[in-house]
């Protein structure tokens, strides 16, 4: 009998953990309305399988935001997997189909999107500081 209770407890525990995992999933990117009110958002788009340069672009972009605008709620970094169906709307909005880096600025209610993909991929591996400084400089201009 004790054994049966033990097995039942294990099943209940696994079921609870599974539910918990579902609830802690990231919110869908397409529902990122709150990001539209921020003054600057760095959007990093990528597919399921990323090349070396693509990974570097994402890391540098995220680092640029986190290191230079820590605590600033007007600036955000957002990673978007374009291979997920739930992100189709935002990918369409930015007109991207694969790996891309775009900056979205909110200039007194007017939304401005700047695509720096070519630049980002050119410098991500060869001169990461140039990319980082460019991202930071562009954001500072809009704050």
């Amino acid at each position: 009998m004790k054994k049966a209770y033990f097995i039942l407890s294990v099943f209940v525990a696994i079921a609870m953990l599974s539910c918990n995992n579902t609830n802690t999933k990231e919110p869908k990117t397409s529902g990122s309305d709150s990001l539209n009110t921020k003054k600057a958002v760095v959007y990093y788009f990528h597919g399921d399988r990323r090349c070396k340069t693509c990974i570097a672009v994402g890391e540098i972009a995220e680092k640029s935001v986190k290191e230079n605008f820590k605590g600033n709620t007007e600036v955000a970094f957002k990673e978007v997997n374009t291979d997920l169906k739930e992100n189709a709307a935002i990918a369409e909005k930015f007109q991207v189909s694969g790996s891309s880096l775009a900056l979205q600025f909110n200039n007194n209610g007017k939304e401005v999107i700047e695509d720096i993909t070519e630049f980002a991929f050119m410098y991500a591996l060869t001169n990461p500081d140039t990319l980082k400084n460019t991202i930071v400089g562009k954001i500072k201009k809009h704050l």
Binding site: G47, R49, C51, K52, T53, G98, S99, F121
Partner: protein
């Protein structure tokens, strides 16, 4: 004549989607995704330029066979997995007269040097020469 060869390489005339020869040869595989990033396109352009500049005769004679393949297409999965790849990759696979294959993975080199055209072409030429020497 050389100009015609260059144009044919640029147009991908010698690009094959399968291995159709049993003669000693070098397969140059470039695997890419459906949606390609600027670096991926740059690597292909640099690789084609290397072949146009130094190996146009080998391409014409099918000593070198170029394969530009989308790794997201199911028909390319077996080949992609054979080389134990994960994402966009450049592989030089030498096949000698006994059918023995020797693969050289140039992916890391390619992505690191994609925007330094001279270094890319020089490095890839050296690698191709090394792989071609295995055919003799």
């Amino acid at each position: 004549m050389k100009r015609i060869l260059i144009i044919l390489i640029m147009l991908g005339f010698f690009t094959s989607s399968g291995n159709s020869t049993t003669e000693p040869h070098l397969d140059i595989y470039y695997f890419h995704a459906t949606h390609r990033c600027p670096t991926c396109l740059k690597i292909e352009a640099n690789a084609r330029k290397t072949l146009e500049t130094y190996f146009s005769e080998d391409v014409l004679n099918q000593k070198i066979i170029i394969h530009m393949l989308n790794f997201e297409e199911p028909e390319n999965a077996t080949l992609f997995n054979k080389f134990e790849l994960y994402s966009s990759s450049l592989v030089l696979n030498a096949v000698d007269k006994n059918g023995k294959e020797t693969a050289m993975n140039m992916t890391d080199f390619a992505f690191t040097n994609a925007y330094d055209e001279d270094a890319f072409i020089k490095g890839l030429k050296t690698a191709i020469d090394k792989q071609l020497s295995l055919l003799n």
